[in-house]
């Protein structure tokens, strides 16, 4: 799983530009699943036929980033955010473009952090004028803060983008156990989650599952100055009850908790008072389906140092496999 994560982190996939990552994951998934196809929006949909209920797991491939709007006379690159960018976290970061060009994200000189917003930032790619810059980047190119993967003490790691490549890695690792699956299983690697849970909607419409389970990261209540929240780092796989986009199916939540207990998988309940995930769009696609979500507790989400405990991710992986192999 962590080997997958390290690979996935290296492949940039800003919302709307996930194709390269989709092809990489597809290459791996084809080893374990019967059918793997990419739909009109770019979602990777992998199917392993089975006798039981139709169960769909979904992890989003896209990461937050930026898109070039224009280049000014000084050769500075102006941009718009793609997804929820915190510019305090992004200021003075190194960024990397899809074509490998590097730059630094810089606010206007003297700007107070309270006034940080996209219009006040540029990316300095080292070009000496507009002409030179336009040879390197053009309107519509996407880029992101540099990827990284760092081991902290014990079982904790930090880096970016953990959101939601850890979930992609979990599903890829789960696929290796495909022989044990009892249900009819679809893994969706979705696009454009960070810009408004767009891709999973059409993927779920296509698959019409009985049950849909999204895998994503969630905030924790145990960080420095965190809002009160029951989820803690190292507390196990978080089984979502609710976030601001979805109320999970009560019976499915109970089933997930029961399966986790039976397999002695460490778990905790999650009520997130903000944020949304693909769970919501899967629930309301076509005529609707019963949904739940498994979350990896994560500190410092959407910064360059998203931090997780790998034991939690391992618990999430075990829960995915357990649900796939339990007749629902």
């Amino acid at each position: 799983m962590l080997n997958y994560l390290r690979e996935l982190i290296k492949i940039q996939s800003v919302s709307g530009s996930e194709e390269k990552l989709a092809l990489y994951i597809k290459g791996e998934m084809e080893k374990y699943f019967d059918e793997c196809e990419i739909d009109p929006m770019g979602n990777l949909i992998c199917h392993k036929a089975g006798e039981g209920k139709k169960l769909l797991f979904c992890a989003h491939m896209d990461e937050i980033g930026f898109i070039v709007t224009t280049v000014d006379d000084k050769g500075f690159v102006h941009f718009a955010p793609v997804g929820g960018i915190d510019f305090v976290a992004a200021a003075y970061s190194k960024v990397v473009f899809e074509n490998g060009i590097r730059g630094i994200m810089v606010p206007e000189e003297g700007l107070k952090s309270d006034d940080f917003k996209a219009e006040k930032f540029i990316v300095d790619i080292g070009a000496k004028d507009k002409k030179q810059a336009e040879r390197l980047v053009k309107t519509g190119d996407t880029f992101a803060v540099e990827p990284s993967y760092t081991r902290l003490r014990g079982s904790r790691i930090c880096g970016r983008p953990i959101d939601d490549k850890i979930a992609c890695a979990i599903l890829m690792a789960a696929a290796r156990e495909a022989d044990k699956f009892e249900n009819d299983i679809t893994f969706v690697f979705s696009v454009q989650e960070e810009v408004g849970i767009r891709g999973s909607k059409v993927a779920a419409f296509r698959c019409r599952p009985d049950y849909g389970i999204a895998i994503d990261v969630t905030a924790t209540g145990d960080g420095h100055g965190s809002k009160p929240m029951a989820v803690s780092l190292g507390g196990g796989a978080a089984i979502k009850i609710k976030d601001s986009s979805v109320i999970c199916d009560g019976a499915l939540v109970k089933k997930m908790e029961q399966v986790a207990d039976e397999k002695s998988i460490k778990w905790q309940r999650e009520v997130l008072t903000f944020g949304g995930t693909d769970t919501a769009s899967i629930q309301m696609a076509a005529a609707g389906c019963k949904v739940g979500a498994i979350s990896v507790p994560t500190r410092y989400i959407h910064t360059a140092n998203e931090t997780i405990d790998t034991n939690d991710a391992q618990a999430c992986l075990e829960l995915v496999v357990a649900l796939a192999e339990t007749k629902l």
């Binding site: 929006m41 224009t70 891709g199 059409v202």
Partner: protein, 357 residues
């Protein structure tokens, strides 16, 4: 009366017609008359849209949908006062700067009345507020009635309204067009002209092509949602108008598009990341055929593409927008050359998609 026209006359007729969001019937009728004889089948659209199909020759089972919205920004009658003045809710966003003194049309398709947007005279306004635009609840529509009873003969609560604004060609050699509702009657006119040309040569058409003239785009409610779900196209091309911000005083980096440099193709806006292949195909065709077009330089706005893209199991979408100055006012201004080049580019893109099929 034969209302079938073409070129500038068609564009003029469409812009002058009354069709605020939710009340597009008159525009729909005008479009139906103009596409008569240029399609194989009309598809029922319960949201009030006009959807026409030109069948392909069966070489591919892929379906293509072209889309433009019929509705324009407008307002709705909220209350009729004892003195006969009318209070209204805006369906054009909160920008009241564009309202005072404007001529308007109020009513429903079969009963329309003229009026003006009235504000207090400046000497009765607090000094500090004189350079601010009046809030919406201090702007009234005066239809020339002297009492509530008289006004109610012509206007009812829930009636619709739009600006009344003439269609003017101005500038050197008439290079600019000014009208209300160029957003998006320009897209409608483009689709009508395209239908006529394609239908005349339909033997070469490989795709089934659906022409969807849709409702309620300006409210964001996407009448097109249901249309797209029903048609289930594989590809969709959306024809729109976009803000330009190419005016003096707007920082260089905030400029969206430039009038006169061709239709603007979007990579991403606030609601949609467009399909890369389809977008690239448009840019390639533009380059090869030497038909001007530009990339929209700002991530802003949104249009029916968002609803089409995420309908059913997903649709590959691209958008071409006419750069439009002062958009959503009584005076939308576009360059005639942009309209002409967009028409030309559309045909060339369809031809390329035909070849590729």
């Amino acid at each position: 009366m034969n209302r079938k026209t073409e070129g500038i006359d068609l564009l003029r007729a469409l812009c002058l017609e009354f069709g605020p969001s939710g009340c597009e019937d008159r525009v729909a009728d005008l479009i139906k008359e103009n596409i008569e004889g240029s399609y194989d089948e009309l598809i029922e659209d319960r949201m009030g849209g006009v959807v026409a199909l030109i069948r392909g020759n069966g070489k591919t089972d892929k379906k293509l949908m072209l889309n433009a919205h019929m509705d324009e920004v407008g307002f709705m009658v909220r209350e009729i006062r004892d003195d006969g003045l009318i209070c209204f809710s805006s369906m054009m966003g909160p920008d009241t700067r564009i309202m005072a003194g404007r001529k308007v049309t109020v009513g429903v398709p079969e009963r329309l009345t003229r009026g003006v947007m009235a504000i207090k005279p400046v000497h009765t306004v607090d000094r500090g507020d004189r350079d601010k635009s009046a809030p919406i609840d201090e702007i009234y529509i005066d239809i020339g009635a002297s009492s509530k009873e008289e006004a109610e003969k012509y206007v009812k609560i829930g009636d619709y309204g739009t600006f009344e604004s003439d269609f003017v060609q101005f500038g050197e050699n008439g290079r600019m067009l000014k009208a209300k509702a160029l957003d998006d009657r320009l897209g409608c006119a483009l689709m009508i002209e395209t239908m006529r040309k394609i239908y005349a040569n339909k033997d070469n058409l490989t795709y089934d092509v659906y022409f969807a003239f849709t409702c309620r785009e300006e409210l964001g409610m996407g009448g097109v949602k249901c249309t797209a779900h029903k048609v289930r196209p594989d590809y969709a091309l959306v024809f729109e108008a976009t803000a330009v911000a190419d005016i003096h005083g707007v920082p260089e980096v905030s400029k969206v598009a430039v009038r006169g440099e061709g239709g603007a193709v979007s990579i991403m806006d606030r609601h949609t990341v467009y399909d890369k292949e389809l977008t690239q195909l448009i840019l390639d065709v533009s380059k090869e055929k030497d038909i001007p077009c530009q990339i929209k330089k700002y991530v802003s706005g949104g249009n029916d593409a968002s609803h089409i893209q995420r309908s059913a199991d997903g649709v590959k979408c691209a958008v071409i927008s006419a750069p439009c100055g002062y958009i959503h006012t009584a005076s939308d201004v576009v360059a005639l050359s942009d309209y002409e080049s967009m028409c030309e580019l559309t045909l060339a893109v369809l031809e390329r998609m035909n070849e590729n099929a």
